[in-house]
Symmetry: C2
């Protein structure tokens, strides 16, 4: 089945940069882009779709989230961090069941598809529910079961989360023709013990998954680690072998220059989560420095409890402006960099070298933005338009592996009304 | 004509705070709210409108913009400030004609109406075009002709901008049944001379308009003023009488504690423009301190050239989170404050004491948000939902003085297609 998208502007990739094609043509053969050009292709396609007034670009990749936490959207806003977590979030999470987690994840998938996300990196409990929801939806995700350890006297072999993480990998890695990938995950330095991290890191080495973790999100987390172990979280993870597999670390707000060097040496990607870092008062990750060093930096929403949504266009916008404000320098964080952070850098971090760009031979993981709304006129600088002006709601089509999953308000693979009912029931149960 | 909005959630005001009414009723008599309640009113209404699934709240007030600059959206992004202004923005502005300014303003009005703004404070050339566009659209605006002076040898009486400003006031103040108000305006300290500010301030005193100005936007502007005059811009304006009328100052990023005391003593409102201040690298206005001192603080988008849109929900969101990030304190900038900044504080600054709140006796300047989208579920904390989760695109109805101007994608008073054609022609002419 070959589909031709025609009469659309196209943000294509070429030689490390972008090429903007006006009124172009994009051909798809099955799940793969097979033509990109300003003129019609010479070979026939089975079907054609007129995309007049839209801009086709790579789908966004949400490189760090806890999708089921949509059910906690708005819980305990504006409290100090510890009180928010211990008095508000954790008591609700204690009441979560796999069924509720499924409901929250499905609600998250609707939100992500409707705002242009094609793939996400998820870290949460009962991850099999996320696997099933993703497989059913048609989108892509890297899913992980976070390993934690709250009882230092427990033998490392008995940590049930380590066992669940490995079982999940064996059962589902590359499921759905590779749409689902399973990652490994140490939740964070402050929620794990050194022996468990070392044991787990040894077990996962060479299996083929990535390591997903939280790192140096808050100053107190970073400083407490230095006080406790004499090393930073980045050095602690390095010493224990957590970076001996391809790894990506969410937040990295308080990383030192030496930490960045360690990350560079071990090829650790950073996930910048500006909404969450601002809202929770965590601070500003040194993103421009990371980019200047050649680190791979992607973008994530974090969970809806600390964001409070899963809208990657907001993260792209924030990443593009807040660092200018902090450094008093309008020349930082160019859209050509931040758009890559929201797309191809996330793909690289997920181990998906076949997506994140509009290019012949890459997967057709695409979105189309409506260019006809008032705020999208005029289009004098397409990358600036995407980074500074565009909204998640401008997404009128989301396509994964060549299949249209979202089309102008309609979800083609999911029963949105059923998901809304399930989510409402879950919320009623959680906050009864 | 009496209209009843029924079955909507309502963000009503009561005693300095908010009251959230689930599935309520809001009655409108002509241009004024005459009923707000959880139960149906006892008196009959001429017509009823089922608002199931929406949240009715005060319309947003964009307290600082240059609306015609939509035509410069995306011009010269990511350049150093001086180069952006002098090499990119000013040469385009030199080519603007009243006709082009009209086209840009109308495009801005479409964008503002569709994202929930009911009133804006505009500062630009050829202000009569903005007046006409606003009158035609049905929305509200405070419009001003900025006074500047680039030739210190010119006698103050001969400054044509001063003359235009006063003529505009005499001709249009309170036009359209008060929908249009005319403000006075000194563009900024760095674009005016002391004699002109003093002369103009003397002329406008007691006439009934407000003074709109830029103040301490960038560090260099603030520091240069201190170097040149020995006083800060706030003290300079005070000394010259610019604060002897009700005044509001945009940006106020680099104001000192003494400046804030001066503003407090002269009842000067501040307009916080977080997108523009971040994007241009200007910095963070001390907003929490202003609020703590009891200053009136409103929100503005600034022009689309430095934002790059006119979406007040973005400003509300940014104002709610960036200060937490800077201060490493998640308890700052509560939605109960920032929602007021986006609504009633802006109304107060515009001299419109009859709007900015949902309350019996206030003008029916209202918007309705769609609560059914995935990112608006669940609604556990309505103010947090509005400040952190909502998007400009969630606005499904914008009403001014009881008239619906925007209804689920349709503009009821304006010919959007004609405005898009005019804007496209204007852009073609400007960048030929």
């Amino acid at each position: 089945m070959r589909l031709l998208l025609k009469n659309c502007d196209i943000l294509a990739s070429s030689d490390g940069g972008f090429e903007y094609i006006k009124n172009g043509f994009l051909g798809i053969d099955g799940d793969t882009v097979d033509y990109v050009g300003a003129t019609p292709p010479k070979t026939p396609y089975d079907s054609q779709r007129d995309m007049t007034g839209t801009l086709v670009m790579p789908g966004l990749i949400n490189a760090h989230t806890h999708s089921a936490m949509t059910l906690l959207r708005g819980v305990g806003s504006d409290l100090p961090l510890q009180s928010w977590l211990f008095d508000k979030v954790f008591p609700v999470e204690d009441r979560l069941t796999p069924e509720l987690i499924r409901a929250g994840t499905e609600l998250a998938i609707l939100e992500m598809l409707s705002t242009g996300t094609v793939s996400f990196s998820d870290m949460y409990m009962a991850p099999e529910e996320a696997v099933k929801a993703v497989l059913e939806s048609g989108m892509k995700a890297n899913i992980s079961r976070p390993v934690q350890c709250f009882d230092p006297s427990e033998p490392v072999e008995e940590n049930f989360r380590v066992r669940e993480s490995l079982e999940l990998f064996d059962k589902y890695h590359n499921a759905g023709n590779g749409r689902v990938r399973i990652d490994f995950c140490v939740h964070a330095e402050y929620t794990c013990t050194a022996p468990v991290v070392k044991y787990y890191s040894g077990l996962v080495r060479g299996r083929g998954g990535n390591m997903h973790l939280h790192m140096s999100e808050t100053k107190s987390e970073h400083d407490e680690c230095v006080k406790k172990y004499g090393v930073t979280p980045a050095a602690w993870f390095t010493d224990l072998g957590a970076f001996d597999v391809p790894a990506f670390a969410a937040h990295c707000v308080w990383v030192t220059d030496e930490d960045l060097e360690l990350m560079k040496a071990h090829n650790v990607s950073a996930v910048h989560c500006p909404s969450s870092n601002m809202k929770l008062g965590s601070g500003f990750a040194p993103v421009q420095k990371m980019l200047d060093m050649g680190l791979n930096v992607a973008l994530g929403t974090d969970g809806a409890a600390s964001n409070n949504n899963l809208n990657m266009f907001e993260e792209l916008h924030l990443a593009s402006i807040i660092h200018n404000g902090l450094a008093n320098d309008p020349t930082l964080m160019r859209p050509s960099d931040t758009v890559k952070m929201a797309t191809v850098n996330g793909a690289r971090l997920q181990g998906r070298d076949d997506t994140g760009e509009v290019r012949v031979g890459k997967k057709a993981d695409l979105i189309a933005l409506d260019l006809t709304a008032p705020h999208m006129r005029p289009n004098l600088d397409p990358l600036a338009l995407i980074a500074y002006s565009a909204q998640g709601s401008d997404v009128v089509m989301t396509m994964v592996d060549g299949c249209i999953l979202y089309d102008r308000g309609r979800f083609l693979t999911l029963d949105a009304e059923r998901i809304y009912r399930d989510a409402a029931r879950a919320v009623a149960q959680l906050y009864a």
